[in-house]
């Protein structure tokens, strides 16, 4: 194929975001294309299918205003690449990877294909380093570790952005000599939301250590498909070539999936659940699985994807398939939010799959696991009893139940609830946990080993 520049004026069909170019030669799958319009402006596209002399091109900026007669299509003989440099820190880029702040152009150290390569499972290192986010419901109950992918399952109107920003702000406690960066990928969110993050990063100075990729709600939807891949390529560069611990925030995955559905519909593919393509799982995994650690490398990539569940429905394909790939989920609950509790984390169905190897002696504290299990169990029992009381009235509760109801109320009020700028250490979270467990007699704390009860159970109050 070589370096011949191949430019074609043979666009035959335009439909939705797709364009069919005929009489092409040497075009390959996944190849990047430049679409030149009459007025000299350029759009970019990617080859989705090539059949004989026909190539189907997906146009990132959309096909509005394109006419088959006017456009010239040039195939660039390479996949989608992004120039990488350490100077990307502190900068803001649009959905095509072009700087959108007033800074100078980036001089790339190297170009990387945004689709990345799959990490060989054998080369992975198991994530087991505790990250302190300063949020009790995460640190103590759903512990985040470096290299994990832990999404926020939220709904419209809930404070997931504030929680994500709080994590980004506080999850930066490092041992000396370690470097930290945030990569922020905004897909189809509103200007206000994007501005909230940017302002927050500015205020705390985090912006210096951040790379932002922004595609707003009125930007071309198809860009949302490559944006997270650009963000993750940047993260991989920073983590595995520049030894940084990178936190990637992807918001909002729901918009990403809708863009994918749009392409799939335009290609007239057989739809799966709710019109999403059958390969949604595989496609999402090529994003989420780019989190992790690699043996022999200092850096790590931790992902916090944010998604809004349509109708708060956890069985909707987007949260459902996400949950099957990610290592747990933090669920944001509307009723708690309505009660004015921030962060409204629904503790019981939230989960961190990697917590067990990131906690305990030498990582957090010896009693962490027991306290966690006990808080879960007691809160679950309290919530059950509370439901019972709703049906039967308080009088139907046993003495023990009443105790657990009181416990769960206090748990929500003092443990779950905390300030947006309150950065609790793990010891503080444990202390509050023990204070609450102190409301229950020691013989009811079956999940805690005796030695820990002896050591930590609050003495007489």
């Amino acid at each position: 194929m070589g370096n011949i520049i191949r430019e074609y004026r043979t666009v035959k069909e335009i439909s939705g975001p797709l364009m069919l170019v005929d009489d092409v030669e040497g075009v390959t799958y996944g190849e990047l294309a430049e679409i030149k319009m009459e007025d000299g402006s350029i759009r970019r596209g990617r080859v989705l299918e090539v059949h004989g002399k026909k190539a189907m091109v997906q146009v990132f900026e959309g096909t509005r205003g394109l006419s088959p007669q006017d456009v010239r299509v040039k195939f660039l003989a390479k996949g989608m690449e992004l120039g990488m440099s350490i100077d990307m820190l502190g900068r803001v880029f649009d959905g095509s990877g072009r700087p959108m702040d007033d800074g100078p152009a980036i001089i790339p150290e190297k170009y990387l294909n945004v689709n990345g390569n799959q990490i060989n499972p054998y080369a992975r290192d198991y994530p087991n380093e505790f990250i302190q986010t300063g949020i009790s419901t995460i640190d103590l109950l759903n512990t985040l570790v470096r290299g994990q992918k832990l999404p926020l399952f939220s709904g419209s109107g809930l404070p997931h952005s504030r929680i994500a920003a709080q994590i980004a702000r506080q999850a930066t406690v490092l041992k000396t000599g370690e470097k930290f960066a945030v990569v922020f990928a905004a897909m189809g969110i509103t200007f206000e939301e994007a501005e909230f993050f940017i302002a927050d990063f500015r205020k705390t100075g985090a912006i210096e250590r951040s790379v932002l990729f922004i595609n707003l709600a009125d930007d071309p939807p198809i860009e949302r498909l490559t944006l997270p891949r650009m963000a993750l390529t940047t993260a991989e560069f920073l983590a595995f070539e520049k030894d940084m611990h990178v936190l990637v925030i992807l918001t909002d995955i729901t918009n990403y999936c809708e863009a994918l559905r749009e392409i799939s519909a335009a290609r007239k593919e057989v739809p799966g659940r709710r019109g999403y393509p059958g390969y949604l799982y595989t496609d999402l995994s090529t994003i989420y699985e780019r989190a992790g650690r690699i043996k022999g490398k200092k850096g790590s990539i931790t992902q916090i994807p944010v998604l809004t569940m349509p109708e708060d429905d956890k069985t909707h394909p987007i949260p459902d398939l996400t949950g099957y790939i990610t290592e747990g989920q933090i669920i944001i609950l509307r009723p708690l939010h309505t009660q004015g509790i921030y962060p409204p984390v629904d503790v019981l169905p939230s989960l961190s799959r990697l917590k067990d190897k990131g906690i305990g002696v030498g990582k957090t504290r010896e009693d962490h696991s027991d306290v966690m299990n006990q808080l879960y169990a007691a809160y679950a029992q309290g919530k059950n009893a509370r439901e019972l009381a709703v049906i039967l009235g308080e009088s139907a509760l046993t003495e023990e139940d009443v105790l657990f109801v009181k416990f769960s109320d206090a748990f929500e009020d003092r443990f779950v609830r905390q300030g947006e700028y309150e950065n609790r250490t793990i010891e503080e979270s444990l202390r509050i946990g023990w204070e609450l467990l102190g409301m229950l007699p020691p013989n009811l704390l079956k999940r805690v080993r005796d030695e820990f009860i002896e050591r930590y159970y609050p003495k007489s109050s």
Binding site: M1, G26, V27, T28, Y29, E31, L48, E49, V50, H51, G52, N115, N117, Q118, I119, N120, P121, Y122, A123, R124, Y126, G147, Q148, F240, V270, G272, R273, G278, Y279, Y281, T282, S285, T286, E289, I294, K314, T315, P317, D320, L321, G323, Y324, I325, E327, G328, L348, P349, L351, L354, S369, N373, A377, A380, L388, I391, L392, A396, T398, N443, K446
Partner: protein, 585 residues
Amino acid sequence: MDGMKGEVIKVSGPLVVAKGLTGARMYEMVRVGELGLFGEIIEIKRDEYSIQTYEETEGLGPGQPVVRTGEPLSVELGPGLIRSIYDGIQRPLDVLARDFGEYIVRGTQRPALDRSKIWGFVPVAHTGDTVKGGDILGTVQESALVSHKIMVPPGRMGTVGQIGPVSGNVDTEVAVIEGPDGPFGVTMVQRWPVRDSRPTKRKIAPTQTMTTGQRIIDMFFPIVKGGTACVPGPFGSGKTVVQHQLAKWADAQIVVYVGCGERGNEMTDVLMEFPHLKDPTTGEPLMERTVLIANTSNMPVAAREASVFTGISIAEYFRDMGYSVALMADSTSRWAEAMREISGRLEEMPGEEGYPAYLGSRIAGFYERAGAVICIGSDDRHGAVSIIGAVSPPGGDLSEPVVQTTLRVVKVYWGLDDKLAFARHFPAINWLASYSLYQEIVDSDADDTVDKMWSVNRRRAMTILQKEAELDELVRLVGIDALSLEDRLLMQAARMIREDFLHQNAFDDRDTYTSPRKQFMLLNLILRYYDEIRTGLADGATLDALLKLNVLDEITRAKLIPEDDLERFRSIESDIVNSIRALVW
């Protein structure tokens, strides 16, 4: 040869169409494009050959070459399988990482069995012996736990000519056999096309219990050697932990673990943990009996489709040696989705939910490769392959096609329940919904080998749990005070069965494995307590006192009693009797 080389005419994701491959067969392997990507022919229309490609196809286009290999997708079978980690088409991931770095590079290949490893072959057969397919020629000590049998390949026969102790790599000739069509050499390695079952003399009904050390499984929903089971459940309900627990503790001689379209970190977990875990019966590291296949979710879907076949072929090969093999596939839903994706690209008419119409027959065909068998060969040795498949139904909806077609073929159903998982009750196997069709086999076995009360106790405990579910409904309507005193006692017993017996912590060293003997004693202890408090109540003790005995703590902690100190169960039993007697007096 004409048609050995063709060219690409179409590329659409993992699907490549080529022409000029006249003579190529269905499911033949080809190398595609300049990079030589691996692919398999899955449809032939006149001169158009559809190829599912096992690697990312970016950069592939019309005009690029396609080369036939003349062979269907096959695995290499021989010493060196144990402790290996392969991708879906049996590329050794550890070797690829060593030679090509931490990312998987396209078109790379290394032999599945390491040619630099030297094995010592010890002959069993002698010169002059008449042998046929499956007969054992000799053995190779492959790992601390596995003596690898070198067998005459299926379908061959003759008289042993030369044979003797020899060491060398797997390609070393260990014997020469004078066959009807002339002499042929046998090396330590065989190739086998993965989509074909390996032959057996005949299948037999499974009769042996497979102990797993998991209380809810062994006691209530047991599996046998050669049996099939499925574990469906929504995300977060603990499918993978159940699979890992079985891979760790099931008393199979060989474990093949197929990570099919799941998380990369989970495979890393297995890789890091298994070398440190000791097999409860032999004390050797579990890795010494394990083969891993890792085709994570982000790796190409076509290779995911192939991964379960690669796994089952390896499992059958060890079965042929006379071993009992357990294969875990996590998750078969991802496998089915891979079929769906390829089928969609082929523009086949979809069946339910977009899955291909042949979904049911493929799933059934896969599980049918499990079973207890009499192996080929003259000595009529027995072998078994058990399959335990995880299913990940979308939205936890059990009516979806993969769950439904799986349930039609498997004999054991461990239904995971997210409500239990939220309450941190693990394993979150729902005891009211799950079933095992091997119950009778296992009951009669356990009554003989563990305790004659095994099946009686099991039935009693299950009745208590079922009664509890009924009473629970009542409590929700009218409150606990409306129950009779006897029912309150039953609720107490049921709670103890749930919390102190069924609940098992996979991450606690003392709790992760329980021998059948201890399982029996633990359940027996709870039932004994239940009997005693009923007697106590009849003799005039108050309900409150009976429900708050100090001895309850001892029962709660009984699951942590070490395996070598089972006498303590007796002392707890007498504590129960004494403390209740004290109440009545």
